[in-house]
């Protein structure tokens, strides 16, 4: 597949199929996790809590992968080829926002680990999960697009989500990008379901439905 020929990015534009897909599937998995948390709060079925925590776990794992791949990509486009100083990279709002979002999800697992009572753990962590999901939007999507950012989607460049904007992303990229998002998401869902099945087998005696 041919890709747009751009300066600085060069062939590394193909990272769109990996780095961006990680974040997309992370968002989808976190969304699924929140749905199960709300379902837990609606009926207090412990099965829904197991679904929620495992989807959140795989989602944060994909987020960490997205962060790691982003550092590699930024190293060869922002740091060296755009001559950005380390200070401007550290001030980058997209990186700070993504780090905050991942740390909030890290706190979710810390919170879960600190309870000994299972029902209390499930109930409080379900409420916290909804808060964590709500915090994703300002920290990742809104604030980096309000203030200046090197990352695509900043107010200086094209507004809105560059990956979803039909006028921004090239049609040749979209032909690979959207199937790639679906594929990576399905891989994440598969790993999550494997983890869920293990947990359901372990807690067979606790679940009665």
């Amino acid at each position: 597949m041919d890709v747009p020929h751009l300066f600085i990015l060069n062939e590394s534009i193909r990272n769109l199929y990996f780095h961006v897909c990680m974040w997309f599937s992370m968002m989808i998995l976190f969304g699924v996790s929140v749905v199960y948390s709300i379902k837990y709060l609606a009926g207090f079925n412990l099965r829904n809590d197991i679904f929620a925590v495992n989807f959140a776990a795989v989602g944060s794992f994909l987020g960490i992968l997205g962060y790691a791949t982003g550092t590699i990509w930024a190293n060869y486009t922002w740091v060296t080829d755009q001559n950005q100083s380390l200070g401007s990279i550290l001030k980058e709002p997209k990186l700070i926002g993504a780090a905050i979002a991942l740390l909030i999800y890290g706190a979710y697992f810390v919170l879960r680990g600190s309870f000994t009572d299972m029902d209390k753990k499930a109930r409080i962590s379900a409420v916290y999960n909804i808060f964590a999901f709500a915090m994703l939007f300002p920290s990742i999507w809104i604030i980096p697009r309000l203030v200046g950012s090197l990352h695509p989607g900043a107010p200086g460049s094209d507004s809105g989500n560059p990956a979803l904007n039909f006028k921004d992303i090239d049609s040749r990229l979209r032909m690979v990008f959207y199937p790639a998002v679906i594929g990576w998401t399905l891989l994440g869902v598969w790993i999550a379901t494997l983890k869920i099945r293990i947990q359901l087998l372990k807690d067979k005696t606790l679940l009665h439905d």
Partner: protein, 71 residues
């Protein structure tokens, strides 16, 4: 005569190497990541994801084996 030619060759080769080293403004460092239009950045990103996935699945595998022993 042969000695003279060897000397000349040595001199020319020395001059050429020193000339080339002065001619380049940027020192030639490990720029493999920038060769072939930065395609190796994509390779590095792919490998990071693959290694990450392998580690994650391996950890899940270890967890399963541990719970298999308990049952």
């Amino acid at each position: 005569m042969t000695k003279f030619m060897v000397r000349c060759l040595l001199f020319v080769s020395f001059m050429s190497t020193s000339f080339f080293s002065f001619a380049q403004e940027k020192p030639e460092m490990a720029d493999a990541m920038r060769s072939n239009g930065k395609i190796y950045v994509v390779v590095a990103v792919c490998l990071t994801i693959l290694i990450g996935l392998f580690i994650y699945v391996f950890l899940i595998d270890r967890k399963i084996s541990k719970s298999e022993k308990e049952v």
